[in-house]
């Protein structure tokens, strides 16, 4: 590890620390929040960002030691594509198991026909 340039070393260390802090915050949110929909917020955003930071740090390190690789870009692209899909499916499954989680309908727009009485007549 000694041949690494100084700025790549510092930048990779900062990215690793930021990524691990994000992953830790996501897991603390998963463990401590009170509702399933609240708990879903932590891991699906923070942990994905944390993994992204760690992957960028890994890319910097292997590019700095003269072995540039694109594996990390593949992994981060895959994670960023699949995290919203799995979160969406989890919310759908939770709403099917407990219909009270479903948000209330938006307020109905009343008297559409009376505000614009001539729309139907003009057709």
């Amino acid at each position: 590890m000694s041949e690494l340039p100084f700025w790549i070393d510092v930048l990779a260390a900062v990215l690793v620390v930021v990524g691990v802090v994000f992953a830790l915050v996501g897991s603390i949110g998963l463990a401590k929040l009170s509702d399933f929909l609240k708990r879903l917020h932590g891991p699906t955003k923070a942990s994905t960002l944390g993994v992204g930071c760690v992957l960028i740090a890994s890319m910097l390190y292997f590019a700095g030691t003269g072995r540039p690789a694109l594996h990390e870009l593949l992994i981060s692209l895959f994670v960023f594509l699949t995290a919203p899909v799995s979160a969406h499916l989890l919310v759908k499954a939770a709403m099917r198991l407990d219909p009270r989680l479903r948000p209330p309908d938006p307020p109905a727009v009343t008297d559409v026909t009376s505000r614009e009485p001539k729309r139907d007549a003009a057709r």
Binding site: M1, D9, L30, A31, A57, A93
Partner: protein, 91 residues
């Protein structure tokens, strides 16, 4: 002074703590989607942990393992959610 080498053991410890919290939610979780979400978090964190271990031991061998964990974890999450959603996985 080597900043990355100084930071890596603490980062690996923090990720292990995050995985412990996800495991706690996995074992405790009151509903089934909680447990699936905890598994999802667990595999994402284990992927980051594998990449950090690859940095620590200065090898590229762990990327393939992280990629396999990413793909199989996503497939597992989708299959479990689909099973809860429809009562069937392949319709």
């Amino acid at each position: 002074m080597n900043w990355l080498a100084a930071v890596l053991p603490w980062a690996i410890g923090g990720l292990a703590l995050a995985m412990l919290l996800a495991t706690w939610r996995l074992l405790r979780g009151p509903t089934l989607p909680d447990r699936i979400l905890a598994l999802d978090t667990l595999y994402v964190n284990s992927m980051a942990l594998l990449i950090l271990v690859g940095l620590r031991f200065d090898t590229e061998l762990y990327f393939e393992a992280a990629l396999v964990i990413a793909m199989l974890g996503f497939v597992g999450t989708v299959a479990l959610s689909k099973y809860l959603l429809r009562g069937d996985i392949v319709e």
